[in-house]
Every structure is written in C-alpha cells, then in structure tokens.
C-alpha cells in the first residue's frame, strides 16, 4: 500500500467513527449500511474488472449464496452467526472456483454472458429451492458475537464499515504487491503476461474467487441485518447495479468502488422527491455521467486534482 492510500484509509476510518456522532439519524445510518454492503460487492468487482480485466455479470449470485447460506446455517443448523458467515464465504468461494474454471477461458462478451448465466441459475435455484421459495423467509438471527447481539443501527454501521476497512487494506495491499502488478499486466496483455511466467489462469481464478468472497461477505451481512431474504434481491438487476457502481466510480481505482456504491445507493433516496419521475431522472443521470465522466468519478477527481496542482 502506498503512503497516499494509507492516509486515505485512515481518513475513511476517522470519517466512519465520526459519522454516527454527527448524525444520530437512523435513516441516514441505514443508508450508510447499505452503501457499505454494496461497496463490499463493488470492491471485489473493481479488482476483477479494473485490475484483472475480467468482466462479471454474476456477482448477485455470490451475494445471494452468501446471504442464503449464512441465513440457513445459522437458522436451521444453529451455527453461531460469525461461523455461519465464514462458512458461507467458503461455500461461495468454492462455487466461484467451479464457475471460474470453465468461464475464465472466455473473454469479453462471452465471459459476460457466461457469468450472467451462472448468476441467473443461482437466482433460479434460490427461487425454486430456497427456504420459502419466491416469497422468501424471515426470522433470521441478527448478528451476534460471543452472545452479544448487535441491536442498534449504529452498531451495525460500525460492523459493516469495519469490514470495509479490512477489505480495503487487504485489497490495497494486494494491488500494490507483486501479485497486483501481475494482475494489471494480465489486464494490459495476457499474451505478454504468460510469456513472463505469470500463470494467468490461476491468477484470474484467484481474483474471481476473491470477488466472490467479498460479495458473499456482503450478502451474509445483509441477511443478518435485514433478517429477511427473498430471491428478488439477488437477480441480474443487482449484478448490473454493481457493475454500474464500478463504472461510475471508476474501475481503475479501487476507491471508485466506494464512491460508486455511495452514489448509486444514495441516488434513489435523493430522487424520492421526484416520485414517479425517479426512474426517468435516474436513467438520465446514469446516461449523462457515463457520457461525460468516462473514466469514472474517482480517477477524474484524482486527475483534475493533479492537473490543478501542477499548474
């Protein structure tokens, strides 16, 4: 991790600690929680797309596996929530390996449609065999550790953003390591990377699994926060939403994931005032931001700032 990033993480940490002190409004904190959950999924996809150059339209599937597995394990098998979350991450990661091996041989549109296919199959499975079927199921135990139940929104806010801090540190370390260089090498030229002795297949699978692990962690946290699950939240629509976060935030910078999650999650809330028009305004904002901020917000801000200081 570079010095700049270390300071950025520190600032993020301070912001997180301060935020609930500034606003005691549970509604805003709840939005903060969902921003965090989405950011977790988006961080994984940013590494996969921006650094390893692999597209995925199936993140909702892993998000769903994380949520459903953790819920089922803690509800039906009485596993402590912490363990059920870990177990669900492992299950999602194993699924990711199985999916990655055939899929990652494909490129571009083909990879996109293959991951889309897997994501939708997982969605159908949840619909057909998930507890409660399409209607979903409730009464999932809320997050608890060593007998202590997290009951307030503030506690959940801290829990989720603590996870993000860890995930950010891990991810920033990773992309600034030798492995990170290798990943970016794969992004720019697979053929050159492989002749330099980089086992691209293995690395791609690993990144894919990492993104699945982040998504499943997010799903599990979602399940134990909302305590109700139904398959509708884990469809292709969510995968597209995450993709949108990554692109709008800027996929060449991992901070873009958080910025993208922030914007895409908050936008509908802000647009509540528009009532019926919101989908129209939403589509308009997405289109315009894609047209005029091609690189995404964070890289744009960084670049503008650099240009500005150079003057």
């Amino acid at each position: 991790m570079t010095k700049g990033n270390a300071i950025a993480v520190l600032i993020l940490g301070i912001l997180i600690i301060l935020f609930p002190q500034v606003t005691s409004d549970n509604y805003i904190l709840t939005i903060g929680i969902f921003v965090g959950i989405n950011a977790l999924v988006a961080i994984g996809l940013t590494i996969l797309m921006g650094y390893a150059g692999q597209i995925s339209l199936g993140q909702a599937g892993f998000y769903g596996i994380g949520a459903y597995m953790s819920a089922i394990l803690s509800m039906n098998f009485g596993l402590p929530v912490l363990f059920s979350i870990i177990a669900s991450i492992i299950i999602a990661s194993l699924t990711a390996v199985i999916i990655a091996i055939p899929s990652l041989r494909l490129k571009g549109h083909y990879l996109a449609v293959a991951t889309l296919g897997f994501g939708e199959i997982i969605h159908i499975i949840l619909n057909e065999w998930g507890p409660g079927g399409p209607s979903g199921f409730g009464d999932i135990p809320s997050f608890n550790i060593l007998g202590y139940h997290l009951s307030s929104t503030v506690e959940y806010f801290y829990l989720i953003w603590l996870c993000i801090i860890f995930v950010m540190i891990f991810s920033l370390n990773l992309i600034h390591s030798m492995t990170g260089k290798a990943l970016r090498a794969i992004h720019d030229s697979e053929i050159a990377a492989v002749t330099l002795g980089i086992n691209i297949t293995k690395l791609k699978i690993k990144v894919f699994v990492l993104s699945a692990a982040y998504a499943s962690l997010a799903g599990a946290l979602y399940a134990h926060y909302v305590t109700f699950l139904s398959p509708s939240g884990f469809s292709l629509f969510y995968s597209v939403l995450v993709l949108m976060m990554v692109v709008i935030g800027g996929m060449t910078n991992i901070w873009g994931a958080i910025a993208g999650a922030l914007i895409i999650t908050i936008l509908p809330e802000v647009l509540r005032g528009f009532k019926e028009f919101d989908i129209l305004v939403y589509g308009m904002i997405l289109t315009l931001s894609l047209l005029f901020m091609r690189k995404g917000i964070v890289p744009l801000v960084v670049e503008t700032y650099k240009k500005w200081t150079l003057r």
């Binding site: 199921f137 109700f228 802000v270 700032y305």
Partner: protein, 386 residues
Amino acid sequence: MRKIGRLLLFLLIFTALIFFSSTNSFCKEPYNIGAIFSVTGPASFLGEPEKNTVLMLVEQINKAGGINGHPLKVIIEDSKSDETQAVLAAKKLLEKDKVLAIIGPSTTGESMALVPIMTQAQTLLISAAAGANITQPVKERYWIFKTAQYDTSAVEAIYTYMKKQGINKVGIITITTGFGDAGRKALIEMAPKFGISIVADERYGPKDTDMTTQLVKIKSAGAQAVINWSVGPGQVIVTKNWHALKMGIPLYQSHGWGSKKNLELAGKAAEGVIAPLGRLVVWEKLPDKHPQKPILKKYVTEYEARYKSEPGTFGGHAYDALMMVVEALKNVGPDKKKIRDYIETKIKKWPGTGGIFNMSPNDHCGLDMTAFEMVIVKNGDWEILK
C-alpha cells in the same frame, strides 16, 4: 495529496444527502402516518391504486377538518417492489418523520422484511399484502396487522365452490413470485381437506409471453379445472391461451383477477372465467342492505371520478388500512400503543372494502372466506354466482 480530493467528494455527497433528506414541512401538530407502497417496479399494479387511494382519502379527511382538528399527514414512500428499499423507507418514516403508524407495504416479501423493524420500533404496521405469515404467528407479530384477505380464504372459497360443482381433479398454474408461490402453497396444502387432488402443478415467470405448454400439460393430466394464481399480465395471457386452446374445462383465477382492465385486455377470451373476488369489484350487484355497499359505492365512485380508473381490490386494502388508523386516532389520540390496542380490540364487525373485519388478539387480519363472492365473467362483466 489526492486524498483531499477524495475527502471533499465524501463530504460533498454526505452533505447533499443530509440536505435532501431533511425536507420536512412545518404543519401545526399534524398526525404523521407513513405509507410504503410498490409504486414502481414489478408490483406497481398494487402500489399505484394504493397510493392514489391514500392521496384521495387524506384530502377528504383534511377538508372535513382532519382528525379531531389535527390535520392528517401521510408520507408516502415508494419501495420499488424491493425489500431493501422497503427497509430504507420504513427507517426513514420512523426516524425522520416520526410516524405513528405505517400502512403497507404492498407485497408479502416487503411486509416480512419490515416485521423486525416495526417490532423493534414498537410501531403499528398494517400491511396491504395477502401472505398469512405476515400476521402469523400472532404472538410474534404483536405490532403487525393486515387488511388483505388471506390467500387461504380465497383458496377455501374456490374449493368450496368446486366441490359444489363436483370437481375433484384440478391442475394449478402459478406465477413464480411471492404472490403466486403463496397461492400455490395454499392450493396444495388445502386440497386434501376438500378431497381435491392436484394432478398438475405448473409455473411461469412474471415476464413470460406464452403459457400454452403448461396448459396443454394440465389438460393432458386429466384435470377437470385449471386454477391460475397470479397478478399482472400473466393472468390475461393464461386466459387467452386457455381460450385459444378450447380446453373444455373451466378456468379459475385467484382473487387478483378483480380488475375491469383484465376483462378489457382478455376480451372474449375471459368469458366463463371464475374467481373469488372481494365485493369491491361487484359492489353494484350487491343487495342494498349489505353493510359494505355504502362504503364501496362512495369509495369506488369517488376514486373513479378522480383518477379515471378503477381502484381494484388493492386500492381497497390501503383504504381499509388507513381508515382503521384514522378511526383509532380519532378515539385514542396519537399514542402508538393505544392505536395498536384499539385496532386489535375495537375493530369488530367493521365493514371495510375488503370485507367485514373482526380483529382479535388471535387474528390480525380479521377476514375469512366470507369476504369473497364467487364471480363469473359474463358478457364482458362480472356476475355473482350463487
């Protein structure tokens, strides 16, 4: 130095968020009620009339002087047919608007997602969705009520009628959404009680375009009748396919069928379709002394005059929910616990649009199969079956 740029961005967005979310108006001591409906998204056909109904009622109530002099303010939130959005909306209503009670959401899933939140906030929720597990087990649903009839009641009405017709073997076709799934479960569970066997169990997706295959399978399984359980365009497509195939066995629809729009869309194909419908749809054909008739007449005519469309049974669920809360407020004032208790104990033989409600500590819905009339489509209109 780039982190300063990042920091600025963060601050900018947070302030924007705070700015946008604090747009409260300053009325003089209004009673704040929250409403969460699926105004957009796949379940928007529910949320739309519900929202309209509430807007209309609030205007009427305030024009008539409000509730004991207090203006009524209903803050309507769109859940976009999505549970996460419903949770966010509920949090906003509870925390920001400090509402006394929430009516809605429109679907079972969204309602279920709100159960823990409402329980924790100790605030009344009157859902407009049908699922039985919204209010059951009652002990764990202390703060939760609903105004939509149970799916099981609709199934009961259908099966009772079928027995009279001598039908023993049915094929069911359901949509793969919460509504269809709940109906499917009820149909399968209750069949043995009526001595009915389900010979085919077919499904289709909410955006499917053709159900011929499923219907042909039902026919070839030897069913004496088809029951379709869905809302939205699916029920019209099934009706059209059923008509085109000349299946020779009757088609039953769920209680979601009760919209004139369906008759328009299906045209001739709808002739002979049977469904258990709330009296709202057929109020004109009710005998004058029926206790629901005056309410229905007022509601439906006013709604149609105002919105140039029919409210449907769903709008009625919102009507009942809001009127219950209003009545409670009138009698016990702005006290969350008292409002809840009033609804549990005082809503007895209470004629609403959905039926005659009898709430009790054991039943937070208060409707049974008598809320339905069996209705057949004849000459492009409804006709009550005896």
